[in-house]
């Protein structure tokens, strides 16, 4: 199960770089596409790369869930929505005025820079390396996460299910036709 038991070897580094590049590249593509479909595809790619990153962090259960739920279900929802809302964009970029746009970009960049600076400065020296030995056998497996879910985190687990029920009801209500007997679309 654990493919990278030793110190970061070349393989691991390469894998990380590829996955990270895919994730970031996909993200950039997503926000810069003119057409919604293209953006969707890019986003799917991003999620898959992120799932790979999860796997390299020994979070296997969540890696699979990421692919199933995110790249699967949620993206399908998005595709349906894009199909329904089928129009050309006249002006893709929000925010009137060059000043606001430039300022937003710069602000975002600056915030990234500041936080990244701190992160890099306080370089972790050892343990967060994903290639260290697994702290617990079965770390990140379905069994251990499941165990946690049904013991320590039972209440949130049940609440989440209610939340999902509410979301389903809300979704159905919202997409009902406005006039009785009218078209559903």
């Amino acid at each position: 199960m654990n493919l990278m038991a030793s110190a970061p070897g070349l393989l691991e580094k390469v894998a990380f770089v590829v996955l990270a590049a895919s994730a970031l590249g996909g993200a950039l593509l997503t926000i810069t596409r003119k057409s919604a479909e293209g953006a969707l595809i890019a986003l799917v790619g991003t999620f898959c790369a992120v799932a790979g990153l999860y796997a390299s962090l020994s979070a296997h259960f969540l890696a699979v869930l990421q692919v199933l739920v995110y790249a699967g279900a949620i993206m399908v929802l998005f595709i349906f929505a894009v199909m329904i809302v089928n129009r050309e964009e006249t002006q893709p970029i929000a925010l009137r005025g060059l000043f606001l746009r430039a300022a937003s970009v710069l602000a975002t960049g600056y915030l990234f820079y500041r936080v990244a600076w701190i992160v890099v400065r306080e370089k972790q020296t050892d343990v967060l390396a994903s290639s260290a030995a697994l702290p617990i056998p079965g770390f990140g497996t379905v069994a251990s996460i499941g165990h946690l879910l049904f013991t320590d985190f039972l209440f949130p687990f049940e609440s989440i299910s209610i939340l999902l029920l509410v979301a389903v009801v809300g979704g159905v209500l919202l997409s009902r036709p406005s006039r009785p007997g009218g078209d559903a679309i």
């Binding site: 500041r114 306080e122 972790q124 020296t125």
Partner: protein, 739 residues
């Protein structure tokens, strides 16, 4: 309740307030009756107090009354207190009596006036303020009245304010007065600083018995000198002496009753009253008295000269007033306080009478006061003529009439005074001579006025001639009363020499009466008195005779010849020696330029554009900013949020410098201390590598460590900060030189 002192000024003030608020609702008869009644009631109360209550206490300082304590500030209590003593009681009577008469006169004179209630309201206001001035027992209360009469004067001079000239005359009076007021205040401050009190009895007491006022202040002169000088500046403003007399002739723009009451009989005498009131202070510094006397004498002569060439009836009388006030100041300035007040008393009667005659004549001449167009009015205006004659003889100083006695008292006093001491002994005779000349001048120009107006052929146009008629009874009655006063009021001041003739001894009634207030009267030897009386009579008759030569029965040959011979001189005199023009050049033009510059730069640019426009601009800017934010666009809100967060991070959380390392080196021992340690809730461990090999040599929980080096050299030491929980390590490097 009704015989309290404070009712005396209060009644006219209440009348003024009522008339100003509600005067328009009542008919003219009611307005006039009400106004006259308040002043007449004041007269009754004042007379009652003066004749019945006052004589009992006049030697103890008179009747005093505390209305209420106005304010206390530090060591001084300022009370609203009134006092009627010998001096103020006399003036009270004069003000209320003549005031009441003028109210009655005005009923007829102003009958065609549109703004009737306002006029009577202002007249009442004036009377109230004047009475406050006279009755005030402390300098602030006097000052209230002082300012009040200035205000009333301004309002009344500019009564017909729609004519710019009238409004300007009012302004001129007020501003000139204000300069005088400044002097009054300075005097008050000096006196307060020296004596610590503002109450008049206390001040006079300190002057008579204490030393505070005699202490030297500036230029070797005592406090009393400077205080007296400043008070005289105030008096010069109020009583139109050089250099502040220029407002009085212009004040003739106001209605004639105003000129009669304010600018002849009462307000202008406030200055004389002030000097007499402060007599004890002045006696401490005779040099101040000398200044007063000299200025008074010069003014008297100067104004008389100007009066020679004036062609407006009221202007002649105005300069006459200035001149006669100079006489009064000579009187008080030579220590002859009773004499000065005596002349004030008689002058009130005959000058008011003369002014009311002027009103009568102008009324007859359809509003014109140009004496070059008058003449021969005696036939058409019998009553006016007779009153004028009496007052004219009084002012010239013809014996038996009141003016004779009062002028004589002053002239005699000037020569006989001993108040100056040796250094200034020449002042008395000098002033006396100047005054004699002024008296000659007075006789001359008043006679000129009489002859040109009442005798000879009438030079008016036919249309005007047609309208000439005597005044109604409401106007004639006060005239007659005043004439009686002008004739008889002199008998309260009959000098000792004449009293002996009828078997009475001692000083004149008036001098004796005023003694508790102003001090002992001047002792004049009988010889000087008789000489004085003779000279006065001579002067008076010469003046009249000279005027007859020039103007008897109209313009005569000598008059024309004189004007032909010296046309420029005559023009100069007629233009009042161009003093107004001089003032305009010296003071008014620079001030006007300053105003203009200030307006253009300070007002327009600094205040309007920058200060006011600036705020408006800022408000607009704020609005723009808010409008920018409130658009309802969620993404804009988010963008602002992010940008704001960035700004916060930028400002508040600057990336910190790596931290300071302090190194202390002694011989071969180095101690490293890490200043500015990062704060963290977790425990940090510090490890120190001193020899630069990368292996920590020391570890401690505190950021300090010491190491002894084996030998000299250049080392690079490092400090590591480790956080066990978050597994972080920070490194600081530091170079150490060991010698």
């Amino acid at each position: 309740m009704f015989s309290r002192l404070f009712m005396i000024p209060l009644l006219p003030l209440l009348g003024a307030a009522y008339l100003m608020l509600f005067g328009r609702r009542h008919s003219r008869a009611v307005v006039q009756t009400l106004a006259s009644l308040t002043v007449f009631a004041s007269f009754v109360i004042a007379a009652d107090a003066f004749f019945f209550a006052l004589p009992k206490v006049v030697h103890q300082g008179g009747i005093s009354e505390l209305v209420y304590t106005w304010f206390s500030a530090g060591t001084v209590d300022v009370d609203l207190a009134l006092r009627m003593d010998a001096l103020s009681g006399l003036l009270c009577l004069v003000v209320t009596f003549i005031g009441a008469l003028i109210h009655v006169y005005s009923a007829g004179y102003m009958a065609h006036e549109h703004d009737y209630p306002r006029f009577f309201a202002y007249l009442n206001l004036f009377c109230g303020a004047m009475l406050t001035l006279v009755l005030g027992d402390s300098l602030p209360v006097v000052f209230i009245g002082w300012e009040g009469v200035g205000l009333a004067s301004y309002l009344l001079i500019g009564f017909w304010y729609k004519e710019t000239a009238n409004a300007s005359a009012g302004k001129k009076a007020f501003i000139t007065n204000r300069i005088g007021d400044f002097g009054f205040l300075l005097g008050t401050f000096l006196i307060f600083r020296a004596t610590g009190t503002l109450d008049i009895p206390a001040i006079l007491d300190s002057a008579r018995t204490g030393h505070a006022l005699a202490a030297p202040l500036w230029l070797g002169q005592p406090v009393a000198f400077w205080a007296g000088l400043f008070f005289f500046v105030g008096a010069a403003g109020k009583s139109a002496q050089i250099p502040l007399y220029v407002w009085l002739p212009d004040a003739m723009a106001g209605p004639t009753p105003v000129s009669a009451l304010i600018h002849a009989a009462t307000m202008v005498t406030a200055g004389v009253y002030l000097v007499a009131r402060m007599s004890a202070v002045y006696m401490v510094a005779p040099a101040a008295l000398a200044v007063v006397a000299i200025v008074g004498a010069v003014t008297a002569l100067f104004a008389a000269l100007i009066g020679f060439a004036q062609n407006d009836f009221k202007k002649v009388l105005a300069y006459s007033t200035v001149s006669q006030l100079g006489f009064m100041f000579v009187g008080v300035g030579t220590g002859n306080f009773a004499g000065g007040i005596f002349h004030l008393f008689t002058h009130a009667f005959f000058k008011a009478g003369l002014f009311l005659c002027a009103g009568s004549v102008m009324h007859a001449m359809s509003g014109s006061g140009d004496i070059t167009q008058m003449g021969g009015l005696a036939k058409r205006l019998p009553w006016t003529t007779r009153v004028f004659q009496i007052c004219w003889l009084a002012i010239c100083g013809v014996p038996v009439f009141s003016g004779f006695f009062s002028k004589d008292a002053i002239l005699g006093g000037a020569f006989a005074t001993e108040v100056y001491g040796h250094g200034l002994a020449w002042v008395g005779p000098l002033v006396g001579v100047l005054l004699g000349l002024a008296a000659l001048g007075t006789a001359f120009y008043m006679s000129r006025l009489y002859f040109l107006v009442f005798t000879g052929p009438c030079r008016a146009s036919d249309e005007v001639k047609h309208h000439i008629h005597e005044s109604p009874v409401s106007m004639v009655f006060p005239l007659v009363v005043l004439a009686a006063g002008a004739a008889l009021s002199g008998f309260v001041g009959v000098p000792p020499a004449l009293r002996e003739l009828v078997g009475k001894h001692g000083e004149s009634t008036l001098s004796v009466w005023l003694e508790p207030a102003v001090g002992a009267p001047l002792e004049i030897s009988h010889a000087i008195e008789w000489a004085g009386m003779g000279v006065s009579t001579l002067i008076a008759l010469s003046g009249i005779g000279l005027a007859y030569v020039f103007f008897g029965g109209g313009y005569r040959a000598p008059a024309h010849a004189f004007v032909h011979a010296l046309p420029r001189f005559v023009a100069l005199v007629r233009d009042k020696f161009r003093v107004d023009e001089l003032y305009a050049f010296l003071f008014i033009r620079p001030l006007a330029s300053l105003c203009r510059v200030t307006f253009q730069y300070v007002d327009r640019i600094l205040i309007d554009k920058i200060l006011i426009g600036g705020w408006a601009f800022l408000a607009d800017l704020g609005g723009r900013i808010c409008r920018f934010v409130q658009v309802g666009d969620v993404q804009r809100y988010l963008a602002v949020f992010v940008i704001g967060l960035t700004a916060l991070v930028w400002i508040a959380a600057r990336p910190t410098a790596p931290g300071e390392v302090e190194v202390v080196v002694e011989n071969h021992t180095a101690r490293i201390t890490l200043l500015d340690t990062p704060s963290s809730p977790d425990k940090l461990t510090y490890s120190f590598d001193f020899d630069g090999d990368g292996i920590p040599d020391r570890a401690s929980a505190t950021p300090t460590a010491t190491w002894v080096y084996s030998g000299p050299g250049h080392y690079t030491a490092s400090v590591f900060i480790e956080d066990a929980r978050w597994h972080t390590r920070r490194t600081f490097k530091q170079d150490i030189d060991i010698r």
